[in-house]
Symmetry: C2
Subunit: 215 residues, 2 copies
């Protein structure tokens, strides 16, 4: 069940917890500075200020350290992005969606260097589990928004449109943070993104949506 990347042993005492954290943080720093390709366990240990032996006390192999870095990033990440969400139900769907997009964008921007390093070189086997997990959450959010829109939108392609919605938001924000085109302003794109997405799940007009998806 559990991935092979899991730490082989978790720290039990305070001192070892510091060691563990130092290793993970050093790994993150090196990932940002030199990329996955130049990452070595000896280097990680050196930067962390611990011995190579200690590193292998907690991590089965090199990728387990990277995995932990990615895991922490994704975790802190989804916490930031999920914060505005409890408002769902108290505010309109429109507000909820918009603030979700804004929060996600802010969360990504604040971790830009690490995100860039991870997206650039880290093998998919390491990234995938976390990307999958957050995507599942986003999909749930999209479906909820869809349901709340009631019969203002077509209900026969909920899965398909949710998929497109999540894909669009994720990809657009990622590209906006990591590789922004120089002839657009990020803020305007984010605004436009919100508008386009809202048109899908919570259109302004009272009119029923177009009758059919056929060409």
């Amino acid at each position: 069940m559990s991935s092979d990347f899991q730490p082989k042993k978790l720290p039990r005492q305070a001192r070892s917890r510091q060691t563990f954290d130092a290793i993970v943080e050093a790994c993150a720093r090196l990932l940002i500075a030199d990329g996955y390709g130049a990452l070595t366990t000896n280097h990680i240990a050196e930067v962390a200020g611990v011995s190579i032996g200690s590193l292998y006390e907690y991590f089965g192999d090199k990728d387990a350290v990277v995995y932990e870095v990615v895991r922490r990033t994704a975790h802190g990440f989804s916490e930031d992005a999920a914060r505005p969400l409890p408002a769902f139900g108290r505010v309109s769907v429109r507000t909820a969606i918009t603030s979700w997009i804004d929060a996600l964008f802010a969360a990504m921007r604040s971790r830009e260097p690490l995100l860039r390093a991870i997206a650039a070189d880290v093998p998919q086997t390491i990234r995938e589990p976390h990307e999958r997990e957050s995507r599942v959450r986003y999909l749930e959010l999209a479906r909820t928004a869809y349901r709340m829109a009631g019969d203002h939108v077509r209900q026969d392609r909920v899965e398909e449109v949710s998929f497109l919605l999540v894909t669009l938001v994720e990809a657009a924000l990622t590209r906006l943070v990591l590789d922004p085109p120089d002839d657009v302003s990020p803020a305007v794109v984010v605004d436009e993104l919100s508008c386009r997405v809202l048109e899908w799940v919570a259109p302004r007009s009272r009119a029923r949506p177009r009758p059919s998806g056929s060409r």
Copy 2:
């Protein structure tokens, strides 16, 4: 100017052209089978049926071989996807966009294993130049469609919407090919994708678009 990944020497005789191709093809096969992480130059040469010395006759280093694989993939790729485009002007914008999306999807599907291998592990420094190049072409297409739509759509955020459009199509098709969710049918998603994109650049209704992009 030119990247360091360029082949150090191009084959001049027929025999060497075969050698060159065999190396590139072997690299592609190994990339698909074992991934970038397990790729070795000795292994490439062995599978190609040539000596390691011959490999370094044409390629400055390992990544130059991978670069050539990616280059060829992206090239054959954009040829397939661009084939339906000359029709622009002879057919409606709607038809052009739809057939572009369909062609792109087909082109990606037919190269699925290689695309998966490249997306999974190949460092961004190698992928980026080609992704950038095709993205520029797609953006040009989006702008053209936008312009042809005339005043049926707002003209003050052409760049922003084009960016979103290209991002959506690229990301959705990629995910659909490499990591299709199991509760949607790819064909339906592609159809829905076309519909959504067409709504942006060539809406059905004659009515003017909504007046403002503000929330």
